[in-house]
Amino acid sequence: MNAASLNPMILTLVTFLPALGAVLLMLFPRRARDIRWFALGISIATFVLSLHLPWHFVNGHPGFQFQVDHQWITTPNIHYHIGVDGISLWLVVLTTFLTPFCVLISWKSVNDRVKEFFILLLLLETAMIGVFIALDLFLFYFFWEATLIPMALIIGMFGHERRIYAAVKFFLYTMIASVFMLIAIIWLYAHTGSFDFVVIQGMLASGKLVIPAHVAQWLFLGFFIAFAVKVPLFPLHTWLPDAHVEAPAAGSVLLAGVLLKMGTYGLLRFNLGLFPELARRNAPWIIVLAIIGIIYGALVAMVQPNFKKLIAYSSVSHLGFVVLGIFSFTQAGLNGAMFIMLSHGVTTGALFLLAGMLYERRHTYDIKEYGGIATPMPIYASFFLLITLASIGLPLLNGFIGEYLVLTGSFQAKALWGILAASGVIWSACYMLWFYQRVFYGEVKHEINNTLADVNVRERTCLWPLAAMALIMGVLPMVWLRPVEPAISRVLAFSTAQAQSAAPSTMSNVNAAAPVAAPVAAAVPTHTEQENGR
């Protein structure tokens, strides 16, 4: 059979296979063991299927591929329009890659209401993939909201002590914020008659749709708030530590690994894709927030007594880099932002898996309860060290590439931003290494820790692929960046064109747009720079 013949339906298959699995799970297996194996089988099958995407992806093509466009509802004009480009390609694969590990990490730790748990997990996977592939704004909003319920239930039903507070907080933050996006989406529909992202973008590019300046700012903010809460951008991040600490291990992995990227993906796709000129005009204050996030997240992470919270705050810091990269409007910065999204998914996913393993053994996240863990659990400690180093951004590991690119990009845009953000790299080394030292080195402080068993086969199965991925991504970044670059160039080219066409009409923003426009031209040869940088 010709594998390419799958192309038209592959995205639908990948997206809905987990949901189908969830439905089957509802109907058939009863024993907890069967349910676990079934869920594992489905999630692995989804991952294998999703590999079709990068395999058959045409690298030089900047537009959307594997597109499907069917009319779903006629009034209003809603289409089932899906497709991936370089920006969403790897995010889909990241989602399918992380889900099997979530099944594995929950193997023993979820004993009660096993069926419900795996049904929710699989539904969540469908919704997350849907967010990345939807090209119809309505469909996007639909999947966006659809991630909310399973995640809130996973936190609320299977989490730790303060789970209900965390679940409700998570739900309300996201719900209230996404309402503003809905208003913006409805406004766009009311004035274009279409929800189609590609169509609306085309209308904006051709000047068929001209959004009045004051309205455009509100629309931009409508989308921005929904995404900023999800990222989370300082000062909207307060739901995140609660949600992370209270969520079960699998929930934290997906929350950090994928859900946060939905925010940055949204910023990149919609805020830059639809309102490029406004994105440039708003960039300064957004970047200030991002840099505050980087430094504040790192400082707060340093003083956390609870190591899951520490990892949660480190996410705030890392995602600050992503936002900084996106709003630097340089090829390097945007490439770097994309790369951090992926590498953060892998490393933080791995960190939460590791945290979950330790929690399974001792049922506490308190750093004081540990110390000298490397003695009873040497293999665990080595994995943890590798991932810690990857998270800090040690060269040859995946964290380095992204941070380097983002810093390059922000230096090109404005040196001060680069300098401030670079301090975040130092902070991250401080809090992660100090944390590592306190937990793993020295004498075993608590007698009970001597009896801890090292990682078993199931846990090793989780850790090896992630550790290997951290290394591969660090050594061969171009494999990942090659499909990304054309799509990023397209976003940049579109935003430059929009900014220039808008500049003469509104005199006030000439000054705002000019300084950032200059480095864009300089950023074109970044391709070779990256190779040198490595």
Binding site: T74, I164, A167, V168, F171, I183, I186
Partner: protein, 479 residues
Amino acid sequence: MIPSGDYIRILPEIVLSIFGMLVMVIDPLLGENDDRKSIGVVSAIGALLALGATFIMAGHPGEAFYNILRVDDFAVFFHVVVILIALACILMSFEYLKVQEIRQGEYYGLILFGTVGMCLMSSAIELVMLFVAIEISSISTYILAGFRRRAAESAESSLKYFLLGSFATAFFLYGIALMYGATGSTNVDVIGASLRQGTPVMAYLAIALMLVGLGFKVAAAPFQVWTPDVYEGAPAPVVALMSTGPKAAAFAVLLRVLFGTAAPGWFWAIWIAAALSMTIGNFGALVQTNVKRMLAYSSIAHAGYLLVAFIAIRSMEQGVSAAMFYTAAYAAMNVGAFAVVSHFASAGEKYVSIEDYAGLGRRSPVLAAVFTVFLLSLIGIPITGGFFAKFYVFRAAISSSLVWLTVIGLVNSAIGSYYYLRLLVMMYMKEPQSDESVPSVPFAAGFAMAGCVVATLYLGVFPNRVLQFAIESARTLVH
């Protein structure tokens, strides 16, 4: 001489009345302590036949009885909605009446008669006829509200509803009288034609008074104060009926009167009523501990969302069709939610506080899952009818540049999600407080719930057909 075609145009009403009378006749034939289920079955058949009659009626559009009724797509739409609501309420009452030991067959008769009134409300184009129809529907529901007569709160509910309700109808009647004075007619079309010529001050007053009356019927702020008490005391299946049926019919009347007559000066009145209803409803619901009271406040809030559609004056077709879709979706989810509440309440409506729902996800997973669908729909989460209902309403609002009202509405709906969420949290995230098993759902009530689930999801996944129909009927209404 009345042409025989006219009778076809009230065929559903005729069928419902005949079955209503049949119920009254059969009732005394049964023994004092017999179960009234057989009567229920008869009235369910009556409702089904009325539904069939509606389709026959739909084939004969036009005016009837010297221009006091008009059968058009708009009327057919509300006939179907109202009759389906009545059917669902009848089905869920089988079990309820047995559990509460209510042995009066008139109960079903009153539901059927009330439905006659609601059906007529949607097709009447003569204000006096409208008034009669409203009274038929209201009086039936006044009595139904007091059917748990051994419970004090039910009596309170009935009395409160009756007293305030009669005040409201009096206002409505005043409005009709003034409108007659202003335009010399009580026919909606003639009034419309005359108001287009010029608007006497008296017409403003007339419309204001009529809005007061109808505002009471749809439980819109500031005429909403009766709602929580009445809903709390009335039997749960009756609340399912009166929170959706008469409301849907009253919205039909509002649509016909306001759009049919091109009535003046209601824009700001409705704007304020909508904003107030949404806000009061949602904030009121936040602090409730009784599920029925909570759903009462929630119904005020939903009336507010619905009113938003009324003032989408720059895109009237969108507005009217959105309002129609909303009534259908709201009927499906709210009747469903009350079906669950009525089943769960058990004898004497014992379990109606939110705390009682703790751990329902464990004790009865299917019932909890069904309730979840309705709650998610009430929140307005995609793939449920509630989502598209809100979506269409706010789209119409934005098309008419009502951005502020949209912002108020959507922020409200986000805040509102909290109290529905509280029930979800109770059901899934708290441990059960008692080991008492939840009785399994009997067939009839289960059928009603399943029907509501299917309707809610159908409207959420394939909203097309219903909306298309609504748009077409809106076209005939707004010309």
